[in-house]
């Protein structure tokens, strides 16, 4: 099976899109981020070397199925629909949706203030679904705009076409830290709590690999490495469940 193959080679190949701060980033020409740190530790636990691949999102899933690599170590929001097609590992990050606004915009101070305003989010993301559901509950719904990439939503907010951007809380927080004069986080997060996991191919073949990785994640929960890594990048450590969360 997959795990024994990996052990035999002594190497695990992990693909991600190095384009999702602070989980996966390319900084100073090197791959860094929460997922990098975490997965490096996981590989140590498995006793194998790790090779990271950077792929655009549209070729990550075909590549996984074609066996070009063993696992996707990008943060993927765990949803019911996705679980049908792939195996997820235990949560490694908080994916609950939060808002960012343009720095100094006093008209938005809490999530409900987006009523009637233009809000951008990433196409097809779980956070977009949360945003839409939340918007329905408001007196006047927000004008929700969908972008292929979250960068473009942020750029459009900077250009003034939209007033807020919704995405996972860590990402929004990181953006605000990176461009403090430009973006500002809107607290608190809203909607259902959501989590990021890693993705392995579905089926028997990968079951043992997923189990082994889960074991490593649990161990890191216990010895505090998980918390330490999260604190290093986010300043705080989120509460992460140690069992697979129930999804609708």
């Amino acid at each position: 099976d997959l795990l024994s193959d990996i052990k035999a080679k002594g190497k695990i190949v992990a693909a991600t899109e190095m384009h999702y701060a602070p989980f996966d980033i390319l900084k100073d020409g090197e791959y860094q981020g929460i997922c990098y740190d975490l997965f490096t530790e996981v590989a140590k636990e498995l006793g194998v070397e790790v090779e990271f691949l950077d792929l655009p999102w549209q070729s990550i899933l075909p590549g996984l199925e074609a066996g070009k690599f063993d696992i996707v170590n990008a943060p993927v929001t765990i949803t019911a629909e996705r679980m049908k097609r792939y195996s997820f590992t235990l949560p490694i990050g908080n994916a609950t949706v939060a808002l960012a606004k343009k720095a100094g915009d006093t008209s938005i101070s809490k999530p409900e203030d987006i009523a009637g305003k233009a809000v951008g989010s990433q196409k097809g993301s779980a956070q977009l679904a949360q945003l839409k559901a939340f918007s329905e509950t408001l007196a006047s719904p927000a004008d929700v705009r969908e972008y292929v990439n979250i960068d473009e939503a942020l750029a459009d907010m900077a250009a003034g076409r939209i007033q807020a951007v919704a995405n996972s809380m860590p990402l929004m927080g990181y953006a605000a830290v990176q461009r403090p004069g430009l973006f500002e986080m809107v607290m608190p997060p809203f909607g259902d709590p959501k989590y990021f996991g890693w993705v392995a191919p579905a089926g028997e073949d990968s079951a043992s690999l997923v189990a082994a990785i889960n074991k490593a994640i649990l161990k890191m929960h216990e010895d505090g490495r998980l918390t330490a890594i999260n604190e290093k990048w986010l300043g705080t450590a989120p509460e992460l469940p140690t069992t697979m969360p129930a999804v609708k």
Partner: protein
């Protein structure tokens, strides 16, 4: 393969296809016209203008469309140019395509034998008539194929319009891909639609070519 996807997303995909075709046709036709004018000004216009055109051609042709579009759409508002996605899409398409077309036309101008232009001058045809009646019909022989090529390339460049949220084909297929977590199906749809456009463009190209090479067919 999940065929019910096609039914579920069918209407959205078709609308996306419509938007793609709109941007493609308007953008590339505009590009042809602007390119032709540029090529003419470059050839017959005053010297300094042709340097300007040279710079325009090299800069626009030399940089990626995605980046031009990004700068136009997201950078535009900083200088007071606020465009809607489709406006920005079509405008940037015209801007992006025109230098390529201009170069194709330039090669066409060069391909017409000098003697024929001299003959036209000798019977007193004006430069404009010479362009329309002598140069253009003949230059279409070598340039119809490159023109068709570039129309085909532009069909695929429409995909880039998705970065400014133009609800075109790729944008819609990505919605489908992201929401359903599928990849083969969206690519199939995408390929099929592009292929349709390419077939259309090739067909038109071959018709034009047959028309303009009529005189070369020996009995």
């Amino acid at each position: 393969m999940e065929f019910d996807l096609f039914i579920r997303y069918g209407p959205a995909l078709l609308t996306g296809f419509g938007v793609t075709i709109l941007c493609w046709l308007v953008g590339s036709m505009g590009g042809v016209v602007v390119g032709f004018v540029l090529a003419c000004l470059n050839r017959w216009g005053p010297r300094p203008l042709s340097w300007l055109i040279y710079a325009y051609v090299e800069v626009i042709r030399g940089t990626p469309f995605m980046i031009q579009l990004f700068i136009l759409y997201y950078g535009g508002p900083y200088v007071g140019l606020v465009l809607s996605p489709i406006q920005a899409g079509i405008l940037s398409f015209i801007v992006y395509g025109s230098p390529y077309f201009a170069e194709i036309f330039r090669s066409g101008f060069n391909a017409v034998p000098k003697g024929q232009i001299e003959a036209a001058r000798c019977v007193g045809l004006s430069e404009k008539r010479i362009l329309w009646r002598v140069i253009l019909p003949q230059m279409l022989v070598p340039i119809t194929a490159p023109l068709t090529n570039f129309f085909i390339i532009l069909t695929k460049e429409t995909a880039i319009l998705s970065v400014v949220t133009v609800p075109e084909l790729l944008y819609e297929t990505q919605t489908m891909a992201a929401e359903t977590f599928t990849f083969v199906e969206p690519f199939l749809v995408l390929s099929l639609f592009y292929w349709l456009m390419v077939v259309g463009a090739s067909w038109l190209g071959s018709k034009v070519e047959a028309r303009v090479t009529r005189h070369l067919k020996r009995a």
